[in-house]
Symmetry: C2
Subunit: 720 residues, 2 copies
């Protein structure tokens, strides 16, 4: 008698080579950017930068030329190695340049590459094989900002601003800096597009910088537990309706070592934003807003004297104006600049002259200009990125300044991330779409003709990838299209009912569904699909890239319209036979944490389980700049603050809600979540809670993995 199991084993051995390989399963380490295997599973990339109109590939240890100045492929043409650079610079192991990924090429006419170590800035000539310039960098310096034109570097050390000249002399721009008097750093809590505090003039002869007096601002008491005992580490944090900081702008001249301050008047309750220079370095421009944010003025100042030259343009809006782009001068005409405005309902470009005369609207239509990428100088064309083709796409166009004629620079699908060459003749176009993992094209901006440099293979081949689809539903207003992404469980069985998690952000300035690879699905969604969940994401009204009316529908009552739209998403989910409407969960972070907590407390019979990260709980605890733009002050809008507060809704909580925060969150301070817990305790409801000591508003690195294990476990515990 034949042994059956022996036979089975033999058959298996024979059959295996012919059978499909079982698909691999993702771990969180594969899917999240904090994970140990994340970068191994990313699409192949080509790290590039421009050397004039020549595209250069940056590698760790060498640089290679990809194209010539006419956009023709020469790839790979070797330029120089890291080792030769280090050897020529005489850099030892302690102070050597460690990678060429951050190299740049200041002059298209010279074989010069700029690199930096922690101790030096260097320019290396690979033709001459020697270092042609070097400049010391000071230990402890932060916020470094180098002008490659003048080779002066600005930086902050111990709260004061310094400039290191091209020949290595350190100049103290300020001496009275402190935690209360901050120089050379971003101000207004990074709102209004502000990301830094120093602004070199075009030729690098003058440095505009921010000065922020926040001595009058209350401290939010943060605690650092890494010392023994724990240490008080307060953050200056102006809460809605409370006293705000005062910002002024200085102009430092390294040649004279003198500073003048722009004579903008009393800075109390004013925002100075979007600093720009005239090409001749004589004029500094700012966009100025009162605290009410219902007016934006473009103001010119004399850079030498600080005198206020006048208001060039004023824009008002009964809700708010939200300028995020400094003016940009036409490269071929120093008397004309481009101003970006949402005044017709969508962000568009307007041509002004320096007298303040509006010459014409350069772009128009029911779409958003996402980015003024630059110019094709020769053709006198703008290069822009817009949502014209689809609200969830970002496509590139050349726009003639003379006649507004638009030339498409891509195939009209997907989302495109451009990098423009020096003259603007070529664009390196990195893009993806729901079906395209990643491509990099080199495109001539005059013609739109392109050559493909990279078509990345799917790094997830062989993995058990869920089906991810996109689509639209109608908003609660019955007319507006909302874009969604739907991720189905792997091994999907249409006859089953699956637990379903809505992931949400929902606030201004962000969107979650784009026509990128997999509709921009987040790694955690893939992970959840593997574990048998449906994941659904819809961008409600109030989110970004849809124009002013769409975004500002939420004005003065954040959360209300957003939730109505999310419930439309739930209605849609309930039409899907495989969605188990009795097992709906919701998860989001920051504004999405606010939405999650709000949905759990406002619609306690809809959602059974929620995980809210770093949530806003009451807008009165949020900061002045962002908060008052959308909510006005608590004094002006008491009903709005009261009705949107989740403290009053804490009593309605029925399902399982876990609130998770970074214990040292400086953005959405812990008081939000702690006050919510207190309200729940007083009301007798039972949220759950978790903190990451030492972390801020978001979790990075290993904590990101830990966090998502935690979020997943919570849904596994209570929704499965």
């Amino acid at each position: 008698m034949i042994n059956k199991s022996f036979l089975t084993a033999v058959l298996l051995l024979i059959a295996l080579p012919f059978m499909a390989q079982p698909k691999k399963t993702f771990t969180l380490d594969d899917l999240l950017s904090g994970g140990s295997n994340f970068w191994n599973l990313q699409p192949k990339n080509l790290h590039t930068t421009w050397w004039g109109d020549v595209l250069v590939e940056l590698d760790v240890d060498e640089c290679r030329q990809i194209s010539d100045a006419k956009g023709r492929s020469v790839y790979p043409k070797f330029l120089f190695t890291l080792d030769e650079l280090n050897a020529a610079a005489g850099l030892d192991d302690k102070n050597k340049v460690r990678s060429l990924y951050y190299a740049s090429f200041p002059d298209g006419e010279r074989k010069e590459v700029f690199v930096r170590t922690s101790r030096e800035n260097l320019i290396y000539d690979w033709g001459e094989k020697k270092v042609v310039w070097r400049q010391p960098r000071v230990a402890g310096a932060t916020h470094a900002d180098l002008s490659l034109a003048s080779r002066c570097e600005a930086y902050v050390r111990d709260w004061n601003l310094y400039v290191m000249t091209a020949d290595g002399a350190e100049l103290a721009v300020t001496t009275d800096g402190s935690r209360e008097l901050v120089y050379g750093q971003s101000v207004h809590r990074d709102e209004f597009g502000i990301r830094k505090g120093t602004f070199w003039s075009p030729k690098g002869n003058l440095l505009a910088f921010y000065r922020m007096d926040q001595s009058m601002v209350t401290d939010y008491p943060q605690v650092d537990i890494s010392d023994r005992p724990a240490r008080y580490a307060p953050d200056k944090y102006p809460m809605a309706g409370m006293t705000s900081h005062k910002v002024t702008v200085g102009i430092f001249n390294p040649a004279t070592k003198q500073t003048v301050y722009l004579k903008a008047g009393d800075p109390t309750d004013r925002y100075f934003t979007n600093i720009a220079w005239s090409p001749d370095e004589r004029t500094v421009y700012m966009i100025e807003l009162p605290r009410s944010q219902d007016k934006a003025e473009l103001v010119a100042y004399d850079a030498a004297t600080g005198d206020r030259k006048g208001v060039l343009y004023t824009e008002t809006n009964p809700k708010y104006v939200h300028p995020q782009h400094p003016i940009v001068f036409l490269p071929w005409d120093d008397t004309k600049f481009i101003y970006q405005s949402e005044r017709d309902g969508y962000n568009h470009l307007y041509l002004f002259d320096t007298t303040g005369k509006e010459l014409r609207q350069l772009t128009q239509g029911e779409f958003v200009v996402l980015d003024l990428v630059g110019f094709n100088t020769k053709k006198k064309a703008l290069i822009v990125s817009t949502t014209e083709a689809s609200p969830i796409q970002a496509n590139l166009y050349a726009v003639s300044v003379a006649n507004g004629k638009r030339t498409p620079l891509d195939g009209g699908t997907g989302c495109h991330t451009p990098s423009l060459s020096a003259s603007g003749a070529f664009v390196r176009d990195l893009w993806s779409s729901p079906d395209v993992v990643r491509k990099i094209d080199l495109t001539a901006t005059a013609t739109g003709k392109s050559v493909n440099l990279l078509t990345a293979a799917d790094p997830w081949a062989g993995y058990d990838v869920p089906e991810i689809t996109g689509g639209t539903i109608k908003a609660a207003d019955g007319t507006t299209d909302l874009y969604y992404r739907l991720v189905k469980p792997t091994n999907f069985d249409p006859n089953k009912k699956y637990p379903t998690v809505v992931y949400v952000y929902g606030g201004p300035g962000i969107r979650n569904v784009e026509a990128t690879r997999n509709f921009m699905a987040r790694g955690w969604e893939i992970y959840m699909a593997q574990r048998g969940y449906v994941v659904f994401v819809v961008d409600n009204r109030g989110s970004s890239r849809r124009g002013f009316a769409f975004e500002s529908a939420t004005f003065r009552h954040l959360g209300d319209v957003e939730m109505q739209d999310q419930l439309k998403g739930v209605e849609f989910l309930k039409t899907l036979p495989y969605v188990d409407a009795d097992r709906l969960g919701v998860h989001g972070w920051s504004f999405g944490g606010f939405m999650t907590t709000n949905l759990m407390c406002s619609y306690p019979d809809v959602f059974k389980v929620g995980v809210a990260g770093g949530p806003v709980i009451d807008w009165k605890y949020y900061e002045v700049m962002y908060g008052e733009r959308y909510m006005d002050t608590p004094q002006e809008n008491p009903e709005g603050y009261a009705s949107t507060s989740l403290l009053g809704k804490a009593k309605n909580l029925k399902g399982r809600l876990q609130v998770i925060i970074g214990y040292n969150d400086p953005t959405c301070v812990p008081q939000h979540s702690l006050a919510f817990l207190r309200a729940c305790e007083d009301a007798g409801t039972q949220p759950d809670f978790f903190v990451y000591p030492g972390q801020g508003h978001n979790m990075y690195g290993k904590d990101m993995i830990h966090l998502h294990e935690r979020i997943t476990r919570y849904f596994d515990d209570y929704l499965k």
Copy 2:
């Protein structure tokens, strides 16, 4: 055909009146002291106080005499009402005395009752029906301490110490008080039996008071979230091995308005404890310890000059000495006093004379004197409470000072809480035992004869009360008896397997099992028994009332021996057929939170679920006085601190562990739990966490209910 359900309904209607009433189920509101119905379900009580040797019943609105001066019942003999007192005092509704529960009777010879309002101290003569003395009280005063002998009241206001004289003059004792320089309050973090900071001399002519300079102590950064923005509210908190505060003792004379400080020498790293007065008010005694706590010196000081008169007695112990009782003079002999010491292994009483000569040991044996209740002056006998009858009992005895002869004053069962009359001739003995809900006896201390004043009915009659039993197991040393309490589920079925929760404290100074009503079962245990859990509590080595060797077995490695003994409890549980060893949980608070976290991380395969409240995580974060007594300093005992730290064990966590703290815990500061979370996050383990903002080391009121709902839910979620 007869309708069956109709018939059943009829039968039920007939049967119901004859059937046993279904037993009532407890809610947490019934069982916990923070609950709305807790006091309604407590045993009946009789609130009494002594008027000389006469026992008086205190009621809200009147006082009644219970016994006469010979101990004979006269109950109830009306004395006076609250209304007549308020009327005689001319007190209106705003400032009236609201209850007589806190009345006292300063003089057995006079019909005088002492009461207080927030604005006044009063003595009312109910014979004359008039107020015979009144003294203003100052708004904002705290730490009030009245000498009924001199009628001077000491109190603290805005960090300074004041005395209000009998005739209403306010004297400022100190003027430089602050958060850093604290006067008239308890010092040394309430260790060494210290509970207050003012000590009137016997006749009330002099006031000894503590002065604590804590300017050199680090702040622990606490945050009060009830303001907007949250407010920094630091606590001075000396952590193990770090710089401690400096305490001195002043003597204020209200007659001269002068203060002298006791000349005790440099107070750095010293403890001044157990302040006592000689009957003649000329001498002040303290027990003094160095920071190492291995020596106690009884030192006498001249109260008029502050001069150090000398050391009367010195006790040393290589582990620690732990004096918690000031010396007490014999009422009939001003030259002799009683000193309490554990020097023979158990707390006993020793007779000394004022030259420091040890006359004799008054009590001895392998039992603990729990309390020197007082004296029968006429019989020259001590009245004491001891564990002689059983380690888990507290029984009363009269002990002849002359010959040590002991007269039992109770039946030798249960735990007795005495209140002694002025001469010590009678004791009001409030007691319970596992089978006695509550009794109050009036006992003659000369003979031990008693009359019963109250036998409380079981307030839980009609409720579904679980079976609660007590017993002993052997400790991990194989010889020591450990006392346990076992609570079985209601509706117990011996053939079922039940989830089982170990409740634990385990630290010094506390015990959980006593021979009181239901073996001292906590309300939550009853609640859990109702929900189908077995609850088990065993007092491990290291806990209190068992003598020095038992307690100090844990010296320098807190947690280790304690856990070994708790595992003996688990071994015992596994012998019980109805205990499901695969579903063991553990819960404890404070030291019990340390034990719970430790057990979950040290024995991850034994316990599946734990809830740890306000846990110590690493003794280096605990304070100097308690921590260094049991652990020495981190500098002296680095291995002990390292090996007992739960930060290193965080990686072992397998089961479900929820850590819960009061967000403003000043005792076991939040850094413990936050550092544990950080360690778990770094190690990739997943504890749960919850906080009560605004709460300290323990939860009171409604939060106590919320907390126990939470704890219960956690076991229901993961252990059931």
